[in-house]
Structures are given as C-alpha cells and as structure tokens.
Amino acid sequence: MKWWPLKLKGEPLLVRLQLLFGSLERRRSSEFAGLFAQVREAELNLVQASRGLEAQFLATSSELESLAGFGDQFVKQVETLVSLATGKGCDDSVFSGAIRLIDQSTQFLVGCQEQTVGTLELLRTYNAQIGRLLAVETQLQRTMLPLRFVPTLFKAESAPLGSAVQQMFTSLTHEIEGLHAQVQEIFGTKFKQLEQTRRTVAAVIAQLDRQSQSLHEVTTTHKAQIESSIETLKKEMTSNHERDVRLGVLSKDIAREVEQIVMGLQFQDIINQKLQHVTAAFPQIEAKFTEFNTASNQAQAREPLHFLEQSCRLEAGQLQGAEGDLANAEAAIQGGIQKVLAQLTEMDSHCLSLEEFKLLTTSFDGMIQVLVEMIEEVRDLVGATVASAAEAYEVLRPLGGLASGLTAIIRDLSARIRLIGLNAQVQAARAAQDRRGAGLEVLSARTSEISEETNRISVDAASQLDALAAGLAESVNAFGKLQTTGLTQQDVLNQQGRTEERRLHAFRDSALETLRAIGDSLDQLRAQAQRTLATVQFSEFRQSTLPALRLPLIAIADGAQRWVQARGGDQSEAILVDGFKRNYTMASEREVFASVVSARSSPSAPLPSERPVANSEFEAFTEPPADKEGEPASVSEPALQTASERPAPASPNGSDLGANVELF
C-alpha cells in the first residue's frame, strides 16, 4: 500500500501566500494548510487503523471458522440422532427391529391361538364321541341282558336230553358266562377309564379355552399396542416431515447466514483496496496544492483550486463509499451472527423438541421401555403357550393308547360273541333233530340273534374308538408341533429379543449421550457466536478513522469551491480529475466517480455512498452497471443487498453462476 507522504509547507510558504493574496487569501491558505495537516494526520492514523481493522476481520474470520465448525457438529449430532431413531440412511431403525420381533412373536401367538381354537373344537368332538361310546355300555348291557338267563335255560332245556347234548350246551353255557364276565370287566374297568378320559379331555378343553381367550385378549392388545407404536413412530419420527423440514430449513438458514458473514468478511479486502486507490490520488492533490501556493495571481490559482475541489470531493466520495461498505459488512456479519443465535434459540425451543424426543424414546414411559416390556411380556406368553401345549400333549398322548387298547378288547369281544352265535346256531340245528330239543332250538336262535346284535354294536364301537384314537393322535401331534414351534419361537425371542433389548439400551445410552452432547454443543455454539459477535467492532474505524480523513477533504473541497465562486468562477468548468478514473478498478468506485461528476451539473443528486445502508438480510448480487455504448460488457462487483431489492441476475458468460462471474 502506498501512503501519501504529505509534505506540509513551512512558514516561508505561508508568508509567501500572504504576500500574494492579501489577508483573505492568507486566512484561506492557512485554513487549507490546517486542513491538509488534518488530512496528513488522518492518513497516518488510517495506516495504523487499517492494520487494526484487518486484524479484527482476521480474528472474526477465525471465530467464524470455529462457529461454523460447532454449527456443523451440532447439526450433524441432531441429524444422527433423528436418523438413528427413524432408521434413515441405514438398513433398519432401532425401534422397527424391536417392533418387528414383537410383531412376529405376536403373529406366532395369534397362530397358536387360532390353532388352539381348532384343536379345542376337535377335542370337544372327541369328548362327544367318548360320550357316545359310553352310551354303548348301556346299549350292550341291555342287548346282552337276556344272555344272563340263557345258561340256566340251556341247563333246564337240555336236562331231558342225552349227556352229549347236555355237554354241548354246557360248553356253550360256559362260553356265554365267560363272555358275560368279560363284558362286565370291560364295563367295570375300561369304560370307566374312558369316562376318566372324557373328564381329562374336558379339563384340557377348559384350560386351553381359558388360555385361548387370554391369548386372544393379549394378542389383540399387543397388536393394538404395536400398531399404536408404529403409528407413533411414523407420526413422531418417520412421518414427521415437519421436523425434518424444519431441521433442513434451519441448516439452510444457518448456511445462508454463514454465507452472508463470509461475504461480509471479504469487504476487508475491498475496503482496503478502495483506501489504497484514495491515497494513490494524494500526490497529485499535493502537487496541485503546491501549484496553488505558488500561483502568482488569482487566475493562476483558480485551476489548481478547481482541481483541489473536484479531487477532494471525489476522494471524500470514495471514502464515504468505503464507510458504506464497512457499515454493510458490519451489519451483514453482526446480523448473520445474531440470526444464528436466534435460530439456535428456535432450534432449542421448538424445532427439534429435544425434550420431547427424550420423553418419546428414552424415558421410563418412552418407546424403549415400552418395547423392552413388550418383548419380555411376549416372551412370557410364548413360554406359557409352549408349557400349555406340552401339558396338553402329555395329557392327551396316553388317551390315544387307551382308545386303541379298548378297540382291541372290543374287537376280541365281538369275535367271541360271533363265535358263540355261530355255536348256538350249530347247536340249535342239532337240537332240532330231537323233538325234545325244540326249546333249545329257540334258545340257540335267540342267542345267535343277541350275538349278532352285540357284534354289530361292538363293531360300531370299535370303529368309533378307532376314529377317536386317530383323532387324539392327531391332536397330540398338533400339540407336539405347537410345542416344537413354540420352543423355536422362544429361542428366537431369547436370542433376538436380547439382541433387540441390547440395541434398544445401547440406543438409549447413545441417544442420551448424544442429547447431552447436543446440549453441550448448543452451549458451545452460543458461546462461540457471542465471542464472534464480540470481535465485530468496526464502528470506530467507520465512525471515526474514515471520517477523520473524509471531513477535511470535504472542507478543502468546500473551501476551494467558495474561493472560486467568490472570485466569479463557474462550477461547471471542465472536469479536471478524469485521469483519476483509471485508479478506480471497482464498479462501485466508478459509480461514485460518475455520481461526483454528475453532481457538479446537478448538485441535488446523492452520492452512491449516501444511499440507505442495506440491512443484513442480504442475498442477491447487484446487476452490472449499464456500460457505455461500444464498451465491452463489464462484470460488476457484487454488493450486499436485501433479497427483496433484486433477484440474483445471471452473468452472460457465467450462465447461472452469478453476475460477478465470467468464465472465459
């Protein structure tokens, strides 16, 4: 940076001026000298203050890096937490894994319940069958009742006959008595066992019925709970689009504010270069001041004074532009940081509902606790179902054997009865040969009829028993299968359930840890934002350092203008500072130049730097200034503007990259 080495003229020069222009001129020259002394001092201060300003900008940019770092960390932590809970970005969510396990087990229990209901129906059918079999006893007793008298009648009828006949009927009598004894035994023991079986099956039915109802209630409740849990999850996390949108919006808001701060910080370089351009003009101004001081008459003094008036006003305008830039940068940086702070407060209070999240997921009544309890409850239920199936299996299994055994006995009985019947028919035929055997013939025929009837009943009972035995075996198998699948489900629940419980607890711990870390990050972020805000202290430079240079320049310009006007000079005289234009490489500087030149012909036109300072809601870049005809299109420097002022225009060669960009 080149700083103007202002060389003040000493007393001899002032004395010379006094001689030349008389007392008024003496005062004027002295005034100019005093103003130039102020300019010199302000310029020296500017050097020092510029270094300080640069250091402040640098410190702010370092603080901004930390702020952005904390901000990124914070947003990532929150995103991680929400992603973890909702399963976004990974295969599964911690909640949905547990819910699926519970759902799967509940489906199993529903299946058990349905199967039990089916088996219960069968068992009820079997018990009805047993009831019908028990009725067979009465039927058989009634059918066989006449046989009790047959031996006595045989004895009585065969008495008058020969011993051979008597012997034949005695043998038949023994068979009938033996059969009777066997029937009595069957009725006395086996049918009693069948009766016992019916009671046992009835007890199993009652127990399974109770369990089935309880299972139905529990599974219905669980299904409702699971559906509610899934709904809650969907509502509160997965489908809570608003939360994600808010988070996304917030991240974008913070990014936008950081962008504004980044843009604001770049104004240090812009302001610095503007000041260099201003001070680059000072040697020329100094030369004109010397020319004025050495002018031998008023006519000679007029041109340098015109130059001084124009150049000092122009540089004052440029300084005012720099003050405006600094004000805008300060507003952008401070506004940006304050908005970040406000967004943090919003994030804390509404956006993320961290406390709500905590309650929803990790508290005593939160999702994790509910899921863990549900897993335990389902595990108990599956255990109870397995135990019931095992019990039913153990109770029913021997019943099939009993039925099969009974069938064999009844078939044996039936065979014997048929034999007696046949025997009786044979004996009846023999007895018919003897006239005295007519009674025996009738008896034999009747015995044969009873045998056939008994046989028919026995065969029927045996086939019913066969069906019962088969049905019971089927039910026993069903309970065996239920027990096996139940044990498998129990294993799944034991293994996966514990895994899910561990996952849920691990999630709870990490969620709590993340929540704590988020709280810490939020505090750090706030503290960092406050620290960053504290470094933005440009007001002294803007309100004191720059005006200290600008105001004497304006005073010189005003003084020179008054001097010229007092001596009949015309303000619309030629522009003498056109050469300064090449110093101004920025669009805004050229704009100030054009405004100063135009203000000479239209004094009411405001300088660009006198425009209202835009607030901190900056978004778009300015459009390029209108280029002079015939000149190539220039790319304007972007300025901080309100979003509502102008949309971001496209650059002719940078396409949609912005007005300040041109790609070759």
Partner: protein
C-alpha cells in the same frame, strides 16, 4: 470428489474465506500470499485448480497465470482470477494470459463451489 486447490491472495481474510468455503466442501486447500510464492509452490506441488487474486505484491495474479500457462504441466489446470477489479480491460488481460474465469469479490460460498464444480472435471 475432493480436489487440491491453491488459493493465492495477499489478504489473509480472503485466503481464509476461500479455504473455509472449499474445505467445508471436502477439498484440500493450499495457500499462498502472492504470485511469486504461489509460483514457487507450484514447482513442486500439483494442484487441480488455482484461485488467485489479481492485485498482489511481488507478482500479480495475471502474471502468475501467464507464467503458469507457459509451463507444459499447467496447460489444462483451470485458473480462476478472484478480484475486486471489474475493469473490462483488466479482464481482457486476464483472459489473454490464459485464465479460465473471472470472479469479482465478494463471492458467495455456494457460488464459489458451483464455479469450482463447473471448471473442474469430475
């Protein structure tokens, strides 16, 4: 995909803002405070992109561009001039020196990243 980018500026704040923006997008960023330092650095270090200020002590950004374009290894490396200057004459100088593009300060972060994405082969 992360790239190595050299930012050249005599203003430390500007270097910091460029680095901050590019590092945030995952790029590796090297810094140099003027054209001469940058030129020396690039003798021993390959980069994917150079973003340089124009007005700097020792060696300007335009001179740096010119010298780099004279090197065979720099024929295809994009060079972006990032400057406060918007004078068409200076811009034409930059173009003639072989610059890829011209950005007038201040830049927006998203804007700079979009420019980088556009000039760098994926």
């Amino acid at each position: 995909m992360a790239k190595t980018i050299l930012t050249v500026d005599d203003a430390a704040t500007m270097r910091k803002m460029v680095s901050f923006t590019l590092r945030g997008a995952g790029h590796e960023v090297l810094e140099a405070q003027d054209g001469a330092v940058a030129f020396n650095l690039l003798q021993s270090r390959a980069v994917d992109l150079v973003i340089t200020d124009v007005h700097m002590p020792n060696m300007s950004g335009i001179e740096l561009t010119r010298r780099l374009r004279a090197l065979p290894s720099f024929g295809r490396v994009p060079i972006i001039l990032l400057t406060t200057e918007s004078d068409p004459g200076r811009k034409a100088e930059g173009r003639a020196a072989g610059a890829t593009g011209w950005i007038v300060k201040p830049f927006g972060q998203e804007q700079l990243l979009a420019i980088v994405a556009k000039v760098l082969p994926s």
